[in-house]
Structure formats: C-alpha cells, structure tokens
C-alpha cells in the first residue's frame, strides 16, 4: 500500500495553472526521484503535497486525505520538508532551530548531530552565520526532528561545493539504509539520483510523463524530458 498517493493532481498560482495531471506513489521506505527540467512543476508538486497550494485531484498520505488539511496538519501527519533554498530560522541558533521543530520520536538532536557532526560543533551558532552547506544540513536536521514518515528534499544540494554535496548525498544514503522513512528527492544530479533512488517520476509541463526504475530509464527518455 502506498504511503503517499497522488492521482491526477492539478494546482494553480492564481490564474496560472502549474500542474495539470500529476500522479505518483511512494511506498513506505522507498526513495523516489522527482525529475524534470526547470519550470516543469517539481517544486509545485512538493507545495501541493505540503498543502501550500490549493489543489485538485486526489492526494492521500497514510490513508488520510490531504486536500482539506492546512500545511501544519499535513506536516504533523509525518511529511517533513527540506525546502528549496534551505530557509532556516535565521536568528535562531542551530540547537534552537532543531528544538523549535522537535516532535517525539526516534529522531533526536543527538541523532541528527550524529548524522551531521558539523551541527554539533555549531550548535550555539546563529543559523544566519552558517555556511550554505551547514544551513542545508540544518534544514535536513530540522525536517528530521519532526520525525517524518516521508522526507521531501527539494534541490537539497543546489549551489553547494562538491565536497558538501558529497556529504549530503552520503547522509541521504545512510538515511535510506538506516530507516524505513520514505524519501522524495528532487535534484539535478541524475548520477546521484540513480545511485540513491529506487524509482523515478518525470514531470513535463505539469504532467507525469514517465514512471519507472532507473534500469528502464533509457537515453531517449532522458534526452527528451531531462535534456541530458
């Protein structure tokens, strides 16, 4: 049974429709890559799942209908978001960022700091003074502190130095292997997605145009929909 199920989802920004027909499923413990070129609706799909936009179609999470829920209620069901652009609570320290989001469960501050030792070193430092990579680690840690059943990462490695990106991907691999949390990951690095994700969904102009495993993803499809 799917943990997250989207069927024929549509969404608009005011009069501008951004999603027309998005369908996808994620099972418990599965890692799904959401791919597509810029402006094809990946981040809008994330916003739809997190209830940041009014939507049409079917959105179900762990048996609950997401459509009538406000954003915080969806998050409390177990959807943890690492938003594009990190967006930490800038004037709060690392420890305070993590505490503000904390909910009871397996993920504690100690466990987050074990995943990202840099956060332990910087625990008393104000978030706005962290490097981009550290802010990204904090954004992931903050989402984990909500003890999600589904972790969504929207362009988590964008604009980071190669070493930091490698550290983030390594952490994601450990998350995949060490928990039964489902992960929905959006990223531009096809090679890394291929290594981390079980399956992929490709969006084109607000529609799901391809779903499958990476073994079945051929060069013609990547060339046509991803421009790679």
């Amino acid at each position: 049974m799917s943990l997250l199920e989207l069927r024929n989802v549509s969404a608009s920004y005011g009069p501008a429709q951004a999603l027309f027909d998005v369908s996808l499923d994620i099972a418990e413990g599965e890692v799904l890559a959401l791919m597509g070129r810029n402006g094809m609706g990946k981040s809008t799909t994330v916003k739809a799942i997190c209830r940041m936009l009014p939507t049409g179609g079917v959105l179900r999470f762990a048996g609950h209908d997401l459509a009538p829920l406000p954003s915080h209620r969806a998050a409390r069901l177990g959807i943890g978001l690492v938003p594009e652009g990190r967006r930490c609570f800038a004037p709060l320290t690392v420890a305070e960022n993590l505490t503000a989001a904390a909910r009871s469960g397996d993920w504690t501050m100690a466990r987050v700091c074990e995943l990202f030792p840099r956060l332990a070193e910087r625990s008393g430092q104000v978030a706005s003074t962290l490097s981009g990579g550290e802010q990204q680690m904090l954004a992931i840690g903050r989402a984990l502190m909500t003890n999600p059943r589904l972790l969504i990462l929207d362009e988590a490695t964008e604009g980071l130095a190669p070493l930091i990106r490698a550290e983030i991907w390594s952490a994601l691999t450990r998350l995949r292997d060490g928990s039964d949390m489902a992960i929905l990951v959006i990223d531009k690095s096809l090679a890394e997605l291929r290594r981390v994700a079980d399956r992929a969904v490709i969006l084109e102009r607000g529609r799901t145009v391809w779903t499958g495993t990476f073994e079945t993803l051929d060069a013609a499809t990547t060339d046509r929909f991803l421009g790679v």
Partner: protein, 327 residues
Amino acid sequence: MMRERYINAALLGGLLLVVFWAYTGDEPFTITLATRVAILALAGVGLNIALGQGGLVSLGHAVFFGIGGYAMGILASHAQSYQPLTLGPLVIEGTKSMPLIWLTAMVASGIAALLIGLVSLRTGGVYFIMITLAFGQMFYYFAISWPAYGGEDGLSIYVRNGFPGLNTLDPIQFFGLCFALLLAALAFHAAFKHAPFGLALNAARQSPDRAQAVGLDPTRLRLIAFVISGVITGLAGALFADLNRFVSPTMFSWQLSGELLIFIILGGTGRLCGPVAGAAMFIALEHWLGGLSEYWHIYLGALLLGVVLFAPGGLIGIATRREAAHD
C-alpha cells in the same frame, strides 16, 4: 549574551539602589515612582511576550491592564461597602485580599485575551493593530458609561488591599511586592524564550510558512502567547490600581496601549529587560522633564525617533552594541 545579562542585572540593581537611597533618605515619593516603574515594566513584560516573541503589535493591550484594574476596583469596592456583587444566581462578596484580586484579574484578563485573540488573530499586520485598537476603544467607552463603578470619574478605593504578612500601606513593602512579581515575570519570560514553545513562537514570527512546514500552527502559538501576555498585563493593572487606590477608564485608553509599546521600543523589542529600561526612562523623563515643561512629550518623541532611526535594538541594544535581541 553575558554582556546583556550584566546590563539586566545592573538595571534591576539600579532600581533597587534608587529605592534604597529613597528609603534611607526618607523620600517616599521616589519609592512610589520606582513602584510605578516596576508595575509598568511588568505590564511591558506582558506585552513583550506578544510583541517581542510573537511579533504581535497590539494597540489594545490597555484592555488587559484596565480589566486587571477594574477587577481590583470592583472587588475592593464591594468589600469596602459590604455590599455583595450579584451576578444572576451568583453572589460574590468583595475582597481586600491581594492574592485573590490578582487571581481574579489574571483569569479575567486571560479570558478577555482569549476572546480578543480568537477574533484579532484571524488577521495580521495593520488589520491586527486596528482590531486590537477597536477592542481597546470598546472597553474604554464601556467603562465610561458604567455608572455602577464610577463611569468617567473612576472609582476610588480608600485603603490599599492587603497581602498576608505585609503592611502594603508601607511604600517600601508594596514596592518589594511589585518588584518580586516583576522578577518572577522576567524569570518566566527568560525561561519561556528558550523553551520549545518560545522557540516555536519565535520561528512562527520569523516565517509562518516555514513554521507550518515543520508542523507548527502559527495562529495557535500566537493565541497562547497573546493569552499569557494578557494575563501578565492584567496582573500589572491590578497592582497599578492598588498603587493609586483608584481605577478609571483611562486604564483602557489607547494612549496607555501606546505607552506600553513605547516602553518596549525604547528598551529594546524582544529584550528581556527592555520594558524595565523603557519604563524607567519614561517615568524619569515624565518626572524631570514634566517639571520643566508640560510639553515634555516632545522630548520623549525626539528620543523615540532617535531610538527607532539609530538604535533599533533600543537602549539595551545600545549598551550591548547588538541590534537583534537574542540571548
């Protein structure tokens, strides 16, 4: 952080020193002024939780101050006249006991804050300011047209209410009581700021969308903060009425709400002892400049302009050389 702690300690210690000097020099009026600072700072601590932590610019906080004042006035006047207060089947004897009056003031202010918050927190920004102002004016005009409790003339209480083991008519003892409550409120605020709830409220103030994405409900957080804020301000109102042994509709006035905001802005928004610094500065200016000119508010305005333009961290921000409140 350490520096701000020293400044806070110096500020509170300074207030105690002034009172000690006034006590040894037999200057009861100065003790009364210091008591006023402590009470208004207490009201400011209440507003600071809503404004500094929650980002709620309330121009109606005098409602809670006035409710606290009238809770004291009504209960004490019925005790004074030996005539019970009859509310339908409920017959309430008045009381001259401060703890009972404080409890009533805090419960009444908390209920009012809950009801006002439920309505006003549906909006934000300038609309929130206008709705809280409207509530303030509603209470003000209601108090004016309430002849049973003095209407526009207000209500006098002849003897200050009592506290077990203390002679509250002695200025130094009454100051001690108010100062202890101020310290308790400051300790609560300090703990509140660093507690998960306070951090979540701070996060919701900075970015409601981001806060919601991690499962926080900004409206609920703000409502709870608004109620806590109202409760503390209501307690200050009861003390203020006891200090003056008088309550009047001016305790509900929008000018008073504005003054509470001024204390916080002057001292430093969100800073623990900001309201203490602001209230002390306000009372000092009122006392000294008020003796020189009846237009002393002009100087206060100039000071406020200077703080807003050149020292957004307030007086404590100047002393700590830090703009943002984070300790």
